[in-house]
């Protein structure tokens, strides 16, 4: 066994090269990675909306499952969130537009997360809007739809199937045309 020669075998350059290649890969990952962003993808899309319940301000119950038969739009909201305030005029416009459609219009609900009814009423008094407001008292909307941050807007069709989710602010026009396209597609 030619041990002395074997012992002086050149190993270090290859090992260094191997480690170096792995490190270059790591650098590439660091350079390529983009800051994470929120995605509107949801496992609930094209599946039945969760059977969740909430309460109106007067304490009567709201059951989502009973709204089948017409399209439903849910807007998740708190009175302190700035984007909610920004999009509110758009929502008012959207609801007016839908009411003009009569029977074909969607039902629109504001779902209040973790907020004080007084503050919510004051908000609607100030910024307008007279559609029903539902309080998510036991987090069932929040956890059922997986809404971690407001505002979010969800579209549910007449059969109670989730058809769309919009994260952050929404415009009246975008919402109306999205629903129009969805209706035509189905």
């Amino acid at each position: 066994m030619g041990d002395t020669t074997r012992r002086r075998r050149r190993v270090a350059p290859y090992v260094s090269l191997g480690v170096g290649l792995v490190m270059v890969g790591l650098f590439a990952v660091f350079l390529l990675v983009e800051p994470s962003r929120d995605s509107a993808e949801t496992a609930l899309l094209d599946r039945a909306a969760p059977a969740v319940t909430g309460e109106y301000a007067d304490g009567t119950q709201f059951e989502l499952a009973r709204r089948r038969g017409s399209w439903v739009v849910l807007n998740f909201f708190t009175s302190t969130c700035i984007p909610c305030r920004n999009e509110h005029p758009e929502l008012v416009a959207f609801v007016e537009g839908q009411r003009a459609l009569g029977i074909d219009g969607v039902e629109f609900y504001t779902i209040v997360q973790n907020d004080d009814p007084g503050a919510v009423e004051a908000f609607f008094d100030e910024f307008g809007g007279d559609w029903p407001v539902v309080y998510d008292i036991d987090f069932s909307f929040q956890n059922g739809f997986g809404v971690a941050q407001v505002p979010e807007t969800w579209i549910i069709d007449a059969n109670g199937i989730v058809r769309g989710r919009i994260i952050s602010e929404v415009s009246a026009e975008f919402l109306a045309t999205s629903i129009q396209t969805l209706r035509e597609r189905l």
Partner: protein, 168 residues
Amino acid sequence: MTRASINTSLKGWAGWAALLFVIVGLLAVGGTRDRGPLDPSDRVDEISRHVACPVCDGESVFESRNPASEAIRAQIRSAVAEGAATDDEILAAVADAYGARVLLVPRSSGFDSLIWVLPATAAVMGIAALSVTFRRWRREAASGLRATPDDYAAVDRARREREANSDG
């Protein structure tokens, strides 16, 4: 028998067998009475440690005091109170609504399985490398190989250098 010889015989195989017996016995007693979480609150804590707060940076629902985490904790709490679902089912329900990205333990399928496979591979490779090296060393020792003059020179140099340094 002298004290020393008692000591020696104690440390013989009999003493070790007794030790093994004691340890296995105690482990059997302690290991089998695994009670799991003591009460519902502990179980809620344990499950919520496995869920990431969906809006904060890297905290778990257990640590975070964000309203979103509050909501998820409420869901876990009510599921635990109902008592029907297992921990995994509760986690699956949370992940269903909020997406798999809230799970703090990556799934063991697809790309995510790499996070389990790579450490296992590394461990196996480490052990294999160690045993191969030791086998080679043992072969060399058996072949009666001696240190070369080169090696002695290296040691001498190192020794001189070391002694020179220890003065300073």
